[in-house]
Amino acid sequence: MPGYYDIDDIIMEEESISVVFQVGAHGVGLLDPGSETNSVEKGAKVDLPFWLAHELYLRQAVSISVPACFSQKTRKEIQADAACVHLRIRCPYFYELGCKIVPLVSDKSIGSFLHYAFTHRYKEILSKSHSASVATVPKFLTRLTKEESQLFEAARSSMLAFKKWRLGGSRLEKASILSRKRKTTMPTCPSTP
């Protein structure tokens, strides 16, 4: 479960989703750029960040429509070849947003769609992550969502750490504070004799 201070969870809630107002709202005209008065009409379609849409939904002020990243088009693409779909462009917090939005929309197939997408993309991440080379960042990394790229990085960094250890080098690393101290004493050395 995401913690209170989980920065990804916070950023994810900024994702804008489109809602339809079920009631007229006065004094919130800034929410709707197309509005001419300082109020939002009943039935107006507005893009709101998730955190606001969620709160309004709980008060039954808006109804939430399914975001574009869970559209039929995306689903078809995922079914065709899950690993090739550029999900980061669609929504960098694809899975997180999906999980949060399932209880809020009428379309209940999003949950199983998320599971399908992750299961199929996971194989691709697995096969590439541990064998990824040190220097180059693979091209497919840009297609991954936040959660997937964290998974990929977890595998890659642990493998890199192991390879570094195996190649050896000094076992004891000097603390940065020690080397700094030495630099400051250096100029004084020539002056002492």
Binding site: K108, G111, S129, A154, M159
Partner: protein, 211 residues
């Protein structure tokens, strides 16, 4: 017990795993006469020339560095044993052969510090590399079988370093699968009523490797 290098993830870094491996006992043959060493972790010695004695790896390496002993290569690190293990690893694609829990670390420490005590150094080194590669490939193919139905993964005979490498990936993958497979998210559109009671049992436990 958790690693100190990254308190958030509670994982060990490779040098930390190596540190733990240094407590494994090895046999040394001292070439000096020395009183017993009384350490917090135990008493070692007294040491007599040419009389073998068992000490922890860190002590063996320290003595070796000062030229005060030779380290006896452990029995499992002989070329014959390693060849057998490698063959067995290749023959059984779903099982890991029993090796010391810290075999990767011990072998590296010995190769680094006691290379003149190891017969067939290059052979042994490349055999260990091969064994590690074969085993890691098995781990990877095993990870492919993880799905939403996997609760726990059983990895028998996997060594400390191997576990440590796959730990961050595996933990994250299992968490992600668990999240996406939760019954709140996946609802059967038609069968949520009384016809099909809520499934508490989330499927049979799947082992990564058969027992």
């Amino acid at each position: 017990m958790a690693g100190q290098s990254n308190p958030d993830l509670s994982v060990f870094s490779a040098p930390e795993v190596e540190f733990l491996a240094e407590d494994e006992m090895v046999e040394i043959v001292p070439n000096i006469r020395m009183e017993a060493l009384n350490m917090i972790c135990g008493d070692y010695g007294p040491f007599f020339p040419q009389i073998a004695s068992k000490v922890p790896l860190w002590l063996a390496v320290a003595l070796k560095k000062r030229g005060k002993c030779t380290i006896r290569t452990p029995e499992w690190m002989s070329v014959e044993r390693l060849t057998q293990v490698l063959e067995a690893e290749r023959e059984s694609p779903r099982e890991f052969q029993p090796l010391p829990f810290h075999y990767v670390e011990i072998s590296r420490l010995l190769f680094d510090h006691a290379h003149d005590d190891i017969p067939d150094l290059y052979m042994a080194r490349s055999l260990i590399e091969d064994i590690r590669d074969v085993r890691f490939h098995k781990v990877e193919t095993g990870l492919e079988t993880i799905s939403g139905r996997t609760h726990a993964v059983k990895l028998k005979n996997l060594s400390a370093m191997e576990v440590n490498i796959v730990r961050p990936f595996m933990v994250r993958a299992l968490q992600a699968f668990y999240k996406h497979d939760s019954p709140h998210l996946i609802q059967q559109p038609r069968a949520m009523g009384s016809r099909q009671p809520q499934v508490v049992d989330r499927g049979p436990r799947r082992d990564l490797r058969p027992r």
